[in-house]
């Protein structure tokens, strides 16, 4: 299915990909029920072939919205401004994304600064009379204050409901200022999963920033990522390639030249799916159709495909052989040190598939894991990107594999099923419960930490570090009470209420 760039509103993940947020079973089952295998749900719960059975229940804990993902992407473009067209509450996110922006800049050796987000601060009367005047004022303020190279606009639940003509204002202000003014439609209610917010940002960038008449740069590779440390440059140097990191911490020029690259890769298909497929569809920039670069199997296949597309096969083989030799001795030591340990991954979808592979490379048992959502297919629709099948085929099944949208009350039972020694997380909300059960968490703030050959070593070392934290968590666990009722804690089935 072709991505539609004619309209300023992105199609949600559930509409495009059939995304689900609640499911329980074996990884192999989820993989075979997903679109890549072209099988529909056995119980016939959907007409669309790509629809998976999804559970739904009465109890839900706070999730995350698409607008937050727009803040953490469009809000982190270094020479742009993001306007949050909303009441002041949506602006709360400025705090966390500022901290992440500052620490991300520091990690990349870029000048540390506050981010540039402006709230239109809508009031009760604006709900009645509309907020576009305030939107235009804030756009003018953004220009006067920073002379940015682009201005993004994030919509909100409130402006979506009152029906502000954000697209009209954006067009008008673009004419007035002569810079791209890009509406990003990301009302929280419009998608059940926040990853639609990634797509909303990437949709706007593809429509209004990327150069339409690209001059190809044969050694440039787009890396769709977040704030992670620069692990791609040393790797790409070996192949004579250059890195173009987007969207976070990028400049407008980095975004504009996306269409000129020789290929697009990412660290997580969940994040990169839309942009990579869009670049291929609109500008012929090939997306690397391979598993993600985690573990030997994934990294080998990923490097070989990147090398094939960029015609650097020889350098790649030399590099692969050298890296295998380099990391193996320490990997052997780590395997001994981690022998018998049980891990549990609880992160975003495609990323989790990669991390489980790395744990298995380290000899760690992974009997259970959860992902926040599941995309039965990615935008490329290419089976070579089927990360879940890649995991199952190369590293074996995960018996207790759950899709749970950051629902902590379910997480309790999931941990009881497999009793892991540690968990791996990125998003907030689950590690506090694990901690109160005496289980330490490895928070991967640097999303590149476990990537590639070195990533296996990195993750192994980090797990050793956090296993030592067990003392803290066990002490805490013996002194506190959980907020859940005994009845709930005694249930064997974490999905009891949603089946």
């Amino acid at each position: 299915m072709k991505i539609n760039f004619d309209t300023p509103v992105v199609q949600s993940r559930e509409q495009r990909l059939g995304t689900i947020i609640a499911w329980d079973g074996k990884a192999s089952e989820l993989s075979s029920q997903s679109e890549f295998a072209r099988r529909s749900c056995a119980s016939g719960c959907g007409e669309k072939g790509r629809r998976l059975c999804e559970m739904k229940g009465p109890f839900t804990q706070g999730s995350v919205c698409s607008e937050q993902m727009v803040e953490c992407q469009a809000g982190h473009v270094r020479d742009a401004v993001l306007i949050q067209h909303s009441p002041i509450g949506c602006g709360a996110g400025q705090v966390i994304y500022n901290s992440i922006y500052r620490n991300g800049l520091a990690m990349r050796n870029l000048p540390v600064e506050n981010l540039r987000l402006i709230s239109t601060n809508l009031q009760e009367e604006d709900m009645v009379f509309g907020g576009v005047d305030k939107l235009e004022q804030s756009i003018r303020d953004a220009w006067e204050r920073h002379q940015p190279k682009a201005i993004f606009i994030a919509t909100s639940c409130a402006t979506g409901i009152i029906g502000d003509d954000v697209d009209g204002s954006a067009r008008k202000m673009e004419g007035e200022l002569g810079i791209p003014v890009i509406p990003l439609h990301c009302e929280g209610f419009m998608s059940k999963h926040w990853s639609t917010g990634f797509d909303a940002t990437q949709h706007g960038i593809l429509r209004q920033i990327v150069r339409k008449n690209p001059k190809k740069q044969e050694d440039l590779v787009n890396v769709i990522n977040l704030w992670g440390t620069d692990v791609f440059t040393p790797m790409f140097n070996e192949l004579g390639l250059r890195v173009n990191y987007v969207v976070d911490l990028a400049t407008m020029e980095d975004l504009a030249q996306l269409s000129e690259a020789a290929a697009t890769v990412g660290f997580c298909h969940t994040l990169s799916s839309y942009m990579a497929a869009g670049l291929e569809q609109e500008f012929g920039v090939p997306e690397i159709k391979a598993p993600q670069p985690y573990g030997f199997a994934g990294t080998d296949a990923w490097l070989r495909e990147l090398a094939r597309v960029t015609h650097r096969e020889e350098q790649a083989e030399t590099y692969i052989a050298r890296e295998h030799t380099r990391v193996k001795p320490r990997l052997e030591e780590l395997r001994k040190l981690l022998k018998g340990k049980k891990g549990f991954v609880s992160t975003g979808s495609a990323y989790a598939h990669g991390l489980i592979a790395v744990l298995r490379e380290l000899g760690i048992e992974v009997e259970g894991s959860l992902v926040f959502h599941h995309d039965p297919i990615y935008d490329s629709q290419d089976p070579r990107q089927d990360t879940l099948s890649h995991l199952v085929d190369n590293y074996g099944d995960v018996p207790a594999f759950s899709v749970s949208n950051r629902q902590q009350y379910q997480f309790y039972g999931l941990l009881q099923r497999v009793k892991p020694d540690f968990i791996i997380i990125r998003h907030n909300g689950l590690a506090p419960l694990a901690s109160r059960l005496g289980i330490p968490a490895a928070p991967l703030g640097d999303e590149h930490h476990a990537l590639g050959y070195q990533g296996m070593i990195n993750l192994g070392e980090t797990i050793l570090e956090i296993l030592a934290h067990k003392k803290f968590h066990e002490d805490l666990a013996s002194h506190i009470k959980l907020p859940y009722k005994k009845w709930w804690l005694e249930q064997k089935d974490p999905f009891l209420l949603v089946r």
Binding site: Q61, T120, D141, Y409, P483, W488
Partner: protein, 461 residues
């Protein structure tokens, strides 16, 4: 796809004077639903959020995580139930979904009281949240609600809505006797003020030391809902802040005939704290002997430390800040200004209040600054937009050396630019880890002195 020029051309737009607009860059408060934290600040009380999927997470991660890394505690943070409203509820209304969520929360979560707070979606679509909640109240379920849609106000006004919701719907009517010497304390905004836990603990400690029984109501020293049930039995209410809590106290006066004492300055240091205790004891009309003994004991300890500190303060060679800037909400702003001027003799440079206090309170707040000491008068400005705040500070004249800045994470870059020492004392404080630390009262003042001068000395070489 529309075609864009590669080169940016500077457009000719009129450059108006930088007048105040609706824009708020680098926020210093959040919206009303942020007051879900006023519920989870009460032991064993859990908020239920009826809102979009991101609202609860946003308020928590920003007010309680990247603000001193305070944490969600028992019933806050990630365990907060939320309807995570989707398109379906936007089209068909959210009452059924809310009913289902309250019902299932009762089954799963162990709380003494649930507080339903609402977001923009519900308030715009007009869900009858009251009707849904009353169905449960009729079955004696401990649940209350407050309509806190984001466009209705900020988390300060939301706090008073939540407080009032609990008083009217849970504490209820009372016409029995009142206990002399017992006081309800309405002071710092929980979680928004990064140091509220330690500070409320210190307030309770000194009031008890002076002979009062204290319902502190929020934080680790609160006895939870039983303490809230005792609100009407207290002799009086103490509003210890420039304005927050006044509406609650006025409501309690009307509802229970309970008088209130309003003291706008949160006391920092021996001088202020002793004066504060004497004022409260006089209002309560209790025997002052216990208070005076406590004051003597506390001042003895306090001035012993100050005596030792004076070696440093009087003969440290390498220069100390002479002027200060405070950017923050009125409670800490006024308290710090009072302490810095009166205890340390630092010269006020610029004071900016950032929480948008209702107009009706602003003149009284200004008057406090005009009379900050017997011989010192200063001014204060009200501004919420950090871009303008930073311009105001840049434009001020601080004389021969840069001022010390008491502010937030938003001032980190400004402080570097001005070569100022800087201490994060308010929302957002993303580069401090805060557990029980307090900057007020007798003990907190000493911690504050340590923090100020460690910052100044630590950056010297």
């Amino acid at each position: 796809m529309s075609e864009k020029e590669e080169k940016v051309t500077v457009p000719q737009i009129d450059k108006p004077a930088r007048a105040k607009t609706n824009s708020i860059q680098q926020i210093r408060y959040v919206c009303s639903i942020g007051a879900m934290h006023s519920a989870s600040a009460i032991p064993r009380v859990i908020p239920i959020t009826h809102c979009g999927p991101g609202c609860a997470d946003k308020q928590f991660m920003n007010l309680a995580f990247y603000n001193g890394f305070q944490g969600g505690g028992y019933g806050g943070g990630a365990v907060v139930p939320s309807t995570n409203q989707s398109e379906n509820e936007v089209v068909f209304g959210g009452e059924d979904r809310l009913r289902e969520l309250i019902g299932s929360s009762l089954k799963i979560l162990d709380a003494d009281l649930f507080v339903v707070v609402t977001g923009c979606i519900s308030d715009l679509l007009g869900d009858d949240v009251g009707a849904v909640v009353r169905e449960f109240q009729k079955q004696d379920v401990a649940v209350v609600f407050a309509e806190t849609g984001g466009f209705r106000g900020n988390n300060f006004t939301g706090h008073e809505l939540v407080t009032r919701g609990i008083i009217d719907q849970y504490v209820g009517d009372y016409d029995g006797p009142r206990t002399p010497g017992t006081v309800n304390v309405w002071s710092l905004l929980p979680y928004h003020n990064t140091f509220w836990r330690g500070d409320l603990t210190e307030i309770k400690r000194v009031l008890e030391g002076a002979g009062l029984e204290v319902n502190i109501l929020f934080g680790p020293e609160s006895r939870g809902v039983s303490e809230w049930k005792n609100i009407p039995k207290a002799q009086f209410n103490l509003v210890l802040s420039p304005w927050l809590g006044l509406k609650t106290a006025q409501h309690l006066e009307k509802k229970y005939g309970q008088p209130f004492l309003h003291l706008p300055v949160i006391p920092i240091g021996a001088r202020e704290t002793s004066a504060f205790l004497r004022a409260v004891v006089a209002f309560a009309g209790i025997d002052p002997v216990k208070a005076e003994e406590f004051i003597i004991s506390e001042e003895g300890t306090y001035y012993n430390y100050l005596e030792n500190f004076s070696d440093f303060y009087s003969e440290y060679w390498w220069g100390l800040p002479a002027k200060f800037v405070v950017v923050g909400d009125s409670a800490y702003n006024l308290a710090l200004t009072k302490f810095l001027v009166n205890q340390l003799g630092i010269i006020p440079g610029k004071q900016i209040i950032t929480e948008n206090p209702p107009d009706e309170y602003r003149e009284a707040i200004r008057a406090q600054y005009r009379n900050i000491a017997e011989d010192v008068s200063t001014d204060v400005e009200f501004e919420e937009d950090s871009y303008r705040i930073h311009q105001l500070i840049r434009q001020a004249d601080f004389g021969q050396k840069p001022p010390i800045i008491f502010g937030t994470t938003w001032e980190r870059d400004l402080a570097k630019e001005m070569k100022s020492a800087m201490i994060e004392v308010g929302f957002p404080t993303s580069y401090e880890v805060v557990l029980s630390r307090s900057y007020i009262g007798y003990r907190g003042a000493l911690t504050l002195l340590e923090k100020i001068y460690t910052t100044a000395v630590g950056a010297s070489a």
